[in-house]
């Protein structure tokens, strides 16, 4: 008889997860209650994480090509969705999901040249850093 865990997102939506899927998360494993609130994670993202957990729980013994293909499709999402997924998986401490997502971000970084790296992360503001450095050198 498996327990059912309830995961609550930041916008108050509840997801019911079977024990096998839920125990993929270290946070849930070490938590005492079956009701866990996941702060800062919206329902849409939490739903995807639950979907990943369910998929990986049911096919624990068969780590074959189908799962790999499903995983590859799962991580090929937009960058900001990806980042939100990483934050959620990091909070829930699901190691394999974090590994897959970080590998995806690494691949995205590798595929860029310097110019597009600057465009995607505009908050870096390289120009300002260069100005600051020149000032510190006394120009």
């Amino acid at each position: 008889m498996s327990r059912v865990f309830k995961l609550k997102s930041s916008d108050n939506e509840t997801f019911e997860v079977e024990e096998a899927a839920a125990l993929l998360s270290e946070t849930i494993k070490s938590s005492s209650s079956t009701e866990i609130t996941v702060p800062n994670v919206k329902a849409e993202i939490l739903g995807k994480v639950v979907e990943w957990c369910n998929k990986h729980a049911e096919s624990e013994d068969t780590k074959d090509q189908l799962i790999k293909e499903w995983d590859a499709e799962f991580v090929s999402v937009d960058q900001h969705v990806l980042f939100k997924l990483i934050t959620a998986a990091d909070y829930l401490q699901i190691k394999e999901l974090v590994d897959q997502l970080t590998q995806r971000v690494g691949d995205m970084i590798k595929a860029k040249t310097l110019k597009t790296v600057e465009m995607t992360y505009p908050t870096f503001n390289v120009e300002r850093e260069v100005q600051e450095e020149l000032k510190s050198l006394g120009f």
Partner: protein, 421 residues
């Protein structure tokens, strides 16, 4: 790739998420990747292969600091994401620095030349070994302008180290006895280097040169050399490697030349050793005694050993894969029977009779040669043709890459090593 701006800031302050990696406070330092907690961002950056680092360092200051830090190397080691690179020293390292080559991405990275001592020149026959994020250059044979007579090469005892975190060369403690063409190996599971034998022969003269039998051990942390029991006889031009696990470890020194004889009292000829000597390292401090193996081959089969590389055997450390490149053939050595057997033939020998470089990387044997040498001033010297042999699968594959060297180089004299960064 959508060039959207990064997600809103409130969600990024979830660095309260507990994680096994140590998290830096994201309030004081700028975030490595906006939108992600710093520990996840550092994990992402540490998974990127070494050949991309140079392009990524100028992105911003925090990336440059992170990609040049010592913590990065240990993080990559833990996550098994180290890049395996071949290091080629084309000539005297004070003139031309070594080149790093990443076969997976066909990327080259030139390193700065070694510090130049104005009195010495023509360093060759040194050895290079990598420990962690450091590349060591030991000994060698060189000409010293202060010596008399000037045209006699002398062995060097200098030890240099290239630190990839600071991208600079450093001086380390010199060896007790200066030597070139010696056997050198890194002690497994320990930050130590053992050197054995050696001589003063220079590549410019294919004969002459002294030989020695002393053996020393270097401790990286304490930066000091300790003498060990010497070889049973003088030996230069030999190769050294380790076999065995923690309980029974052996240091092998194979081949080389010892005595010399002259033909008709005029032409000097080397007497090549046909055997190896083995030292058992039983206790932590010391070496044990040396024992000699029998001759590895009958007279006439070959004159001397070719280039030797060793593949570490993770499954059975007592049986490392010892391979020799002799002409166009690769032989494998059996430690138990002390015999060489033919393993494979090199599939393609390039049209021009250039020499081969032989090095092992990620358990595969790399045979590197020039494909075509174009003798034009100031032009690159053609392409490098690399044939790769997998000892378990017994298959060959090949790569072709542009050569970054300004002039053709002699792979018989170039020093090769591998490093994991």
């Amino acid at each position: 790739m959508a060039s959207q701006s990064s997600p809103s800031s409130p969600s990024s302050s979830s660095s309260s998420s507990s994680s096994s990696l140590s998290s830096s406070s994201s309030s004081s330092s700028p975030p490595l990747i906006p939108g992600l907690p710093n520990d996840v961002a550092s994990l992402i950056l540490s998974l990127i292969p070494f050949s991309h680092h140079a392009r990524l360092k100028p992105t911003c200051k925090s990336w440059r600091l992170f990609l040049s830090s010592k913590a990065l190397f240990s993080s990559r080691q833990t996550h098994r994401s180290l890049s395996h690179l071949i290091c080629i020293f084309p000539e005297d390292p004070a003139v031309t620095g070594p080149y790093l080559f990443d076969p997976r991405h066909l990327a080259w990275c030139p390193l700065p030349p070694m510090p130049c001592n104005p009195y010495v020149y023509g360093l060759c026959n040194f050895t290079s070994v990598a420990i962690g994020p450091h590349l060591y250059v030991l000994g060698g044979s060189l000409f010293d302008a202060r010596s008399f007579p000037i045209d006699r090469p002398t062995p060097s005892s200098a030890v240099f180290r290239f630190d990839f975190t600071t991208a600079a060369w450093e001086y380390r403690a010199p060896m007790l006895t200066p030597r070139g063409s010696f056997a050198c190996a890194k002690v497994p599971d320990s930050d130590q280097i053992i050197v054995a034998g050696g001589g003063s022969r220079h590549t410019m003269f294919s004969a002459a040169g002294s030989r020695m039998s002393s053996v020393e051990r270097y401790d990286v942390c304490r930066d000091e050399w300790v003498a060990m029991e010497g070889l049973p006889s003088f030996r230069a031009g030999c190769v050294g490697f380790f076999a065995g696990d923690e309980e029974e470890r052996e240091f092998w020194v194979m081949g080389g030349y010892g005595q010399a004889r002259t033909i008709s009292e005029v032409v000097p000829v080397d007497e090549y050793y046909r055997n190896a000597v083995v030292m058992e390292l039983t206790s932590r401090n010391g070496g044990g005694r040396w024992r000699e193996t029998g001759d590895m081959w009958e007279g006439g089969e070959r004159m001397r050993l070719g280039k030797i590389v060793v593949v570490d055997n993770e499954v059975d450390p007592a049986q490392p894969g010892v391979f020799m490149l002799d002409g166009n053939d690769i032989f494998r050595y059996d430690l138990a029977s002390n015999r060489w057997s033919l393993e494979s033939r090199i599939p393609r020998k390039p049209p021009c009779n250039s020499s081969f470089a032989f090095v092992v990387l990620e358990g595969e044997l790399y045979v590197i040669t020039f494909w075509k040498i174009v003798e034009r001033l100031h032009k690159r010297a053609g392409r490098l043709y690399i044939q790769i042999y997998h000892p378990q699968q017994r298959t060959w594959r090949s790569l072709l890459t542009k050569s970054p060297f300004r002039y053709g180089l002699d792979f018989n004299a170039a020093v090769m090593s591998t490093i994991h960064l």
